[in-house]
């Protein structure tokens, strides 16, 4: 049998998108009252929930904590029901640990941690449904949660994945496209300054193609920025309306 045709001759991907198009984005901020900040975000069928606590006093061992800036503590996890196959993922899951580390690096670059020495910021992200681009959804959800918590940041952190197939760069890969095994690039961008917070590439990609894939990812991050910004402004407007009463 012929395998799946990920990109048709007419330029459509399996789910009907064109090469540079994003999946539908839906997001809500302030979903939990107890937390300092929280957000729920859907990128297509990938669903992520992010919760932020802090800045608060350091907990646990102070030995590792940096002196002049806040400690960013990230925890990434996936719900047992998030993938097609139910799978228990205890906390020791290596992929999750790596993802937590990536998130930490990303947000250390974006948060103004020097404003809060000897304190700690906790970011918890859980993937409720996984359909590709888990890291990106986690970053985007965490950004909204941090904004909701009112923690000062340099800029939004927008993350988006990009792949490369038949000489075309594809933005925002879904699970099927990821599983096909081609090169996949994850980019976390501070869109206004065009600073890269994190860039990860798995599988081999020839150097000549890199600029094009990077461009596609950058472009996608810009679009995401516009969308996230709209969500934040709408949320503010609602909150302002409530306060104004």
């Amino acid at each position: 049998m012929a395998g799946l045709e990920l990109l048709s001759e007419q330029g459509f991907r399996l789910d009907g998108r064109r090469a540079g198009e994003l999946r539908q984005l839906r997001a809500r901020m302030g979903v939990f009252a107890q937390a300092d900040g929280s957000a729920y975000l859907e990128q297509g069928n990938t669903k992520a929930l992010a919760v932020v606590y802090g800045p608060h006093e350091l907990r646990g061992s102070r030995g590792k904590a940096p002196h002049a800036q806040a400690l960013v503590n990230c925890q990434y996890s996936m719900a047992t029901f998030s993938t097609a196959e139910r799978k228990r993922r205890p906390h020791g899951d290596r992929a999750s640990a790596e993802m937590s580390l990536h998130l930490k690096q990303t947000f250390e670059a974006a948060l103004l941690t020097r404003l809060f020495p000897r304190s700690q910021i906790d970011i918890y992200v859980q993937i409720l449904q996984a359909d590709g681009g888990n890291y990106c959804a986690a970053v985007n959800a965490a950004t909204l949660a941090l904004l909701d918590a009112g923690i000062p940041m340099r800029d939004y952190v927008c993350a988006c994945s990009a792949g490369f197939l038949e000489d075309t760069a594809l933005a925002d890969l879904n699970y099927v496209e990821e599983a096909a095994g081609g090169p996949q690039l994850a980019l976390a961008l501070l869109p206004q300054a065009q600073h890269i917070a994190l860039l990860e590439l798995n599988a081999r990609l020839h150097q000549d193609h890199l600029p094009r894939v990077l461009d596609a990812a950058t472009q996608a991050c810009r679009h995401l920025h516009a969308l996230l910004d709209r969500v934040v402004r709408e949320h503010l407007r609602d909150a302002a309306a409530l306060l104004g009463k």
Binding site: Q10, E85, R204
Partner: protein
Amino acid sequence: MLTSRTFLKRTRAGAVRKIVREHYLRDDIGCGLGGCALCGGESRPALEARPGGAASSLCPGPHFLLPDTNLLLHQIDILEDPVITNVIILQTVLQEVRNRSAPVYKRIKDVINKQEKHFYSFTNEHHKDTYIEQEKGENSNDRNDRAIRVAVKWYSEHLQKLQMEEKVQIILLTNDRKNKEKAVEEGITAYTCEEYIKSLIANPELVDRLASLNDEGNEIETGRIIFAEHLPLSKLQQGIKSNLYLQGTFRANRENYLEATVWIHGDGEEKEIIIQGLRNLNRAVHEDIVAVELLPKAAWAAPSSVVLHDDENQNEDDVEQEEEKEKSLRTSSSNSMLRPTGRVVGIIKRNWRPFCGMLSKSQIKEARRHLFTPADRRIPRIRIETRQASTLEGQRIIVAIDGWPRNSRYPNGHFVKNLGAAGDKETETEVLLLEHDVPHQPFSQSVLSFLPKMPWSITDQDMKCREDLRHLCVCSVDPPGCTDIDDALHCRVLENGNLEVGVHIADVSHFIRPGNALDQESAKRGTTVYLCEKRIDMVPELLSSNLCSLRSNVDRLAFSCIWEMNHSAEILKTRFTKSVINSKASLTYAEAQMKIDSPSMNDDITTSLRGLNKLARILKKCRIDNGALTLSSPEVRFHMDSETHDPIDLQTKELKETNSMVEEFMLLANISVAQKIYDEFSEHALLRKHPAPPPSNYDILVKAAKSKGLEIKTDSAKALADSLDSAEFPSFPYLNTLLRILATRCMMQAVYFCSGMDNDFHHYGLASPIYTHFTSPIRRYADIIVHRLLAVAIGADCTYPDLTDKHKLADLCRNLNYRHKMAQYAQRASVAFHTQLFFKSKGVVNEEAYILFVRKNAIVVLIPKYGLEGTVFFEEKDKPKPTLLYNDEVPSLTVESTTFYTFDRVTVNIMLDASNVQHQKIRMALVEPKLVGTSVPSQATQLNSNNEPKKKKLKE
């Protein structure tokens, strides 16, 4: 708009999994119509606003056609015809075709890409108005049919909304009766393909190209069912899983149409299953992937040595006669010869392609059904329906198979194309190129646009990373008349007394840059094909015979491999560099030999040649000591008449010492380069290997040698080489050559592969642990890739993505191996055709020949004078059969009272048998030794009958 698709899927492990996928529905997919106001006009409209198309009596107005899946699968030949334009191909249809037949999918994609055909592929599954969900109780076929109808309806409404001055119709083409009824109910104009094509007033000839479909109920065959039903795919897969059936490639036997072998590909070792008899073959055609059931051991058979051809004048569907023949196959044979035997239970994948051949006209004058005889003997005859039988008679035509019903002796097919008169040199060349799938169209404009502009000269830019070697005394040695010179050599004494030897190869990769149309076309062609009177170039002529060709006294770009050697030919240093050379002479092998041999000549070129020759001798000896094989195959050369291009003489190629000199250095360069690129790119070096043959391959050689009292050891290449060397028979000097010819037949094919995908690199024939092709980039694409790899390795060029992708490289290797094999077959076919032409003019001759193989009812002989091989039959129609006694232990064949062994010398009578225009063949009959009844009498007067053939003592 967004919907999601949810479906359940069973995983390999057997668990049921729920899969949810997003499915975006769009409103920006255009209808493909030029200047459509509603869709905002496509940037490149595919469909014409006022569709022209062929005039049809059914729908006189302008119209678009919309075929369904089955129609596309079966009638692709019609759709490819230039008459049919303005067709809409739905995504639903395209997807189904993709899943069901890769070749048709490829063809329809090509058609869609042709602008003048005005085909448009409409992405209906993602259009918000044409996407439909599968309903409860509806299977996916019905759903797809409904999707097609919905799309047709959408189109007709869309066209109405446009309000063009002239109403444009949408016509659904379907051969499915139910679908058509439903469509008509819904108010859609629907025709079957036949109805539509027959209504084309101006193009009646298209009807012949219609594929005949058996569900039309127009079968007039005898109702008798000949074949067992094929099992459905699901059952086959179950059976294969449970080891009840075996899956393999069906290979029909060229010499016996009632026998075939199935190569079981699968875990570990490959094995072969024999299928005998029409019913067991069960409608499988050569190259199909089939499922086979093994028969019980009692029914196993031995591979028959009978040569049997499907007879021209045989009654159609005469099955009884077949059965009789089948019995003749099963003549007693010793148990040791029995091989696993089976029968075909089902077809997993058909591998039908269009076949070249000729029409055998039916004896009934008005008949419209005729049998078509393919040029390839392994393909069964095909029944086609045509009204132009009388014009097609004597022409070479192309026919495609449509199906093979259970009650028909032959498959049904349809006429595709007429190539020209049979026997005509042009037509025959065309046929053999087509039959061997050799791309031979002239290079397209887009390919030619990447050629360098003339006049071309070397620029300073080119010189930057090149060494200037123009001062060296380089010369080339090639066969006479060679215009694509891709190698040149030099040798000089260095100050320290060592020798510097350089092999300079045309720098083709400088001109062919990766990825452009020129590169893609050369990659597709893979190799230059040399036919007897024609060369099918891999790269355009400007490159092959001018800019890349290392002609004498012009500056040319080269890729040089330079060694420093001592006088005992040990390599001290190896260096690769891109360079510029200026060859001082282009010699032929004979000229070079003459220079070396004549003591009076002492110029630079000659000294250089002598140095090379001396080193080559040492190198050759080393190689042979290491166990390299010297094999032999009869090669012939035709002397052509300069005006008619007919062959006027035929002689075997003669080898001079200089041939071996050039060869030695090419081998050395190839090995050095292979090592270098493998060191540099362990994962994606393109190498060439030659696997050691399985020991059983040598059976025939060992047995044959034994019958002459010689022993051949085959445990290793070295042992084989040594025993071949010692196998001399003073009274029979040609025996050694014969043994080498036979040994060549035992070998495996050498193949290209990607080093990251394999771990056995050994080259058996050359006894080298690593090997590649570097020295002929003008005529082999593999060499171009090796050049690029080497250029990257020495930092003279930059890499590009596909070069470092081992899967792409492996795909490329597959294509190259296929093209090389096909090129070789095409060359042989061309030689065979010219041999026929030669004997046509020559008439009947008697020649001395040696027996190569002994078969059950025939002997295969080789005529050294012409390098010609042929079969001598002992049974002839309308003549009393001689008693034949075959012994396959020795092997020998006793006819009446004479016994034939392998390597026996005989005299045969050669003539052209033109009774069958399609397969004109060289017929050979035995003259000496004389046999009662079969030998050709009288004509052989010049040979004295007392002169007993030199037959060795008869055993027994």
